[in-house]
Symmetry: D2
Subunit: 140 residues, 4 copies
């Protein structure tokens, strides 16, 4: 799949369109059909013991899928999540969480992504996996 | 299913064990196997236009499922979400969101819940539906 | 939601378009947005002990969602399943299985259904729950 | 993850415990934590145009996940599917379908697998993706 937005373009889009959450996420790699992002956890994302909360991991997977789609589709602001299935498999230790998301299908009306979340340096022991469907607005 | 924790007991558990999020959620009804909770949205949960974010709706479904299970299981602190499948169907208008969650199965090792999220007063037009599985720690 | 196809119309559609599986399923109730169907299990659907196989329950949920959508949408042959999330909660005892499916959203491009499968007469102890998304072909 | 059952052992288990479906599936590769299997489609799995039905693809993913778990766990007959989320992304052309399933987690009570289904020779254009959870019986 051809890249329509590189890391700088995605970062600018994130800063402009999602100012409330821009500081929570950092791009790690933009290599369509794969985009990886990190969660910059603050106290609001943590649970006792320093573990990252489920909604925070959901949010990381969701934003990473969104930018994975935009990297191939271009700056379309109206794609919306229609479905997410997420499995939490291990309790994340304190530290930086990475989501590696892959675009499996970019259709006329739907895009499907699949990815894994893991602690930095521990890609072989994912803490979660997620698949997401986005609805793509009609063009024209 | 017999009630092991009523609304006051669940509220006390929420206040004590989840102080970071206790102010975000309010109990609406505790009638096992059904528990309904409301999201008290603040700026961090909103997106442009006043719509509630996906991760906030995920968080509402997750906490509501948790307390739905506790209402029947009793005060077991170690149940953890293992899976969630959520469909976002409509964009929520500004205003209070309610999640109505039902416990479908409470097994030895797993509990399964299913519920819908809707704007207060618009139960027939759900904005999202979700099913969640929790792992129950072994007793003994 | 207004009914566009009644039980006789759905049955005729099933007989004509799905002759390979028509004998496997029977309509129980057509009351949009709810449609209920039964699985007429034969040896190929059973596992040792007389329990119905997972793929057979998936097939029952899938066909029931399809006709649930058609009951409101009318005879559109090209709707396709894009996602299904299914939880198997109890082992079905030998006997007739019913799926009760509800159409939660019929949008321009997507339809979302949610339902439960249970042994006839035991609706309060569902053996499975499922949510399905169908893609609706563009008209015009 | 260490291999506890090789391809010959899995094939013998399939032949003995699942005689109704043994002829429908063939092992392609057993390399834990990955197991790949093929669906040997007959008329009952096909839809008009020669495309493989959704329930047949679900069945392929389900059996492949089961043997993926057994390859690492050993010959435990009582693991049962508790959840499956499956996305159908493209219509499979006529021809052999392969499922490549990976075991992501083998816990005390739950195992989680994730995989893709594709037409032989077209692994980069998956027709479906699926994630499945199995419940592992307690050992005594």
């Amino acid at each position: 799949m051809e890249m329509k937005m590189d890391q700088a373009a995605l970062q600018a889009f994130l800063d402009r369109d999602f100012p409330q959450v821009a500081g929570m996420f950092a791009f790690v790699e933009v290599a369509p059909p794969v985009v990886s992002m990190a969660l910059i956890a603050s106290d609001q994302h943590l649970r006792p013991g320093g573990t990252v909360s489920g909604p925070s991991m959901f949010g990381l997977a969701d934003v990473c899928a969104y930018f994975c789609i935009l990297s191939v589709l271009g700056p379309v602001g109206l794609a919306v999540t229609t479905n997410c299935s997420i499995d939490f498999m291990r309790k994340p230790p304190p530290g930086r969480l990475i989501c590696r998301m892959e675009l499996l299908k970019l259709g006329r009306a739907l895009a499907v992504c699949e990815g894994r979340i893991f602690s930095e340096g521990a890609q072989d022991k994912p803490v979660a996996r997620a698949s997401l469907t986005y609805s793509i607005p009609p063009t024209g």
